[in-house]
Symmetry: C4
Subunit: 228 residues, 4 copies
């Protein structure tokens, strides 16, 4: 595919993935955004596609998506990019294997983020998907690189694909946009289940070596030759 075909295909995917945020009830009104690298398999472009700022989900089309370079500058599109674009760009610049980024204010994950408390790994599905607790990132104000830097510094040495930015909400990463959206759906689900479990007592711990073996199996065996 030429670069224009790759951009067009990525616009389609990113548009469709925003509908998944609604479908799994991860966003309200215009909140939340998904991005994906263009040609994430090759070196042909340092570009990504992201949602325009402040547009309702039911008005999103592939054409309304915007294309940015890895500094977050608008390269193609009629609208301003999402106000979280700088954070997405920072992640792509510093984590070359990441092909998709998602940000939501999903209810239970944001409730943990408001307390600045990591989600303990007490579910086999958490061990599968996140390989341990879901960590907390620093409080950071929008407008410079501090959100992006907080995400990268928290996730760089973690098996988790999700970080709870303090007082703010979750950011998730993946090999592509689909994997990052799956992580966004899963972090909300484990945030909800562990919250509910802790309301009436203390969940049973899972030993570290069992978390390791569950995570290893899931990442390498599950699915049709793919972890997404």
């Amino acid at each position: 595919m030429g670069i224009q075909d790759e951009i067009r295909a990525t616009r389609d995917v990113v548009c469709r993935l925003h509908a998944e945020l609604i479908r799994w009830e991860l966003v309200v009104w215009t909140a939340g955004n998904v991005s994906q690298r263009v040609a994430s398999e090759g070196p042909s472009a340092d570009l990504f596609v992201i949602k325009p700022s402040g547009v309702r989900y039911d008005e999103l089309t592939p054409e309304s998506m915007v294309v940015c370079d890895l500094e977050g500058n608008l390269v193609e599109g009629d609208r301003s990019p999402s106000s979280d674009t700088a954070a997405h760009a920072y992640v792509y610049r510093h984590m070359p294997t990441v092909g998709g980024v998602v940000h939501t204010h999903s209810t239970y994950a944001t409730a943990w983020a408001a307390r600045g408390e990591e989600i303990p790994c007490v579910l086999t599905m958490m061990a599968d998907e996140f390989g341990g607790p879901v960590p907390v990132g620093p409080f950071a104000v929008i407008g410079d690189d501090s959100i992006g830097r907080g995400i990268v510094e928290t996730l760089r040495d973690s098996r988790s694909k999700a970080v709870l930015m303090a007082n703010h909400g979750p950011f998730t990463i993946g090999k592509d946009g689909t994997a990052a959206v799956k992580a966004a759906a899963m972090v909300e689900e484990v945030a909800r289940v562990v919250h509910i479990s802790m309301q009436l007592g203390t969940p049973l711990p899972i030993a570290d070596h069992l978390i390791d073996s569950l995570h290893d199996r899931y990442q390498n065996v599950y699915g049709q030759g793919s972890t997404s």
Copy 2:
């Protein structure tokens, strides 16, 4: 547009916005109502359009909406106006920049209202949208101006576009009906997230100067040249 065209356009908008109350699960059965000024941009009319009383949401049409003057008197329409019309009218009379008003009994916001407790500003999305805590208004009985007066006195000197009327539920305002519905969706979401966060501990505070700067940026930069 002539005044009849403006009324017709406003009926369409107000009808469609009631469907948003259902879509974001802010109302049950016939509860809740949206209004919007006619010709809110100009002095040509002191009128607003509101839902008729006690009609099911799936039976609402643009034609069934009713038109009232700013005293809450019925000007045009076959049905009685919403029983909350006096409160909407009071707000329009006393807050000339308000072009839309919404009332719901949305679950979490009403739960805070029942305790008469303001929602503390511990989320960046609260700072963005409300610029601080969501305040509580007085207990007021339907039938005279006391609900409208309670709303206006609470919101007049606040950055919040939402007030929790004690034992009753939220009222929200905006430059038009869409902005007021967005505020109704957002106040329910922040009421839910902060409630859930507080069930297992104490949320981290956000410093006042950071709330100020988040609010300022969101109101002036976010979206496509518009805060709605």
Copy 3:
């Protein structure tokens, strides 16, 4: 209308009202049932229409509804009547102004029922709809008149149209099936809001004379000349 026309019209209404139980998320799988008197306005028939037993909601049709007399005997229909038919019949026999009965296991109302605890009247919408607390009825086993008797004895001297049968779930009544379904939706909503409010503290009380005046206004003024 002749009696056969009245039966046909009532089958349509009762079938459609079961879809409302699903729409407001009041039932899971085959649980829950709605009934309505035939010719509730006149003395021409002592009959009511109710759901057949154990049939999935998406398989219900007007034709599959069954007709019973006020002893609960099957009068018309190919299937067994709901296993709660005896309770519905008892209510119709002993409360002549009741034209509709609904039973669900809706989540929050059933949670209050499991503790045998009435829902305190701390919301204006509760004062409007129920005129006070929602009372608890006795524990009663299916199979004789004890459920019906518990409903009637609890509601006979109450303004509430809903009763929480201990360890079981809510039953609601109304002048017709629609009013009883509305009460079923509202009792779940107030059960949810008051529950959530009490999780983080104590709701503010509403004085008895204010509850009285709210209830009086709502029953006599609200809606288009009708309280349903």
Copy 4:
């Protein structure tokens, strides 16, 4: 029916039942699976149909379902069977009257499972459906027979058709796939109601002899000559 017709019919049923998991909000993303024996009424085949691994629910078709023997080996199908296939196969080998098995990570049931706490029988609908508390099974790691053995050892001597596997989630059984899916929907519902009830106090107990009589009536009388 010949064996190929039976397999085709079972593929249809199992595909349709996965849509029920979504409809009742029992699963997120690709989690969860349903299986059903082929020709469960006769001895003609020791086979069952199950979901392929890691496929999205909206991409499932009857043709994409896979057929396994009772050792869990793939007999027919283009894709790998669900990673939980060994557990389903173990149940079919050791419980000859079981014709359907379901596994989910449904929210409230999994929250109880994370604490390793059985759900006490304090609702008439629990007595009806489960005949007592919903028991907890051992912590077991995927990859050998330990999950299947944990299910069978817990359910063999219980009236419950659901088991909460510790830190993992519920497994349910039934005479066919439909009955097992109903049990999955009901275990989530009772997990939710009892959880909510216990948040504000202690549910009233139901005496053992009353649980027995409720269960007996429901299993033998309810429905149209069938307990499913």
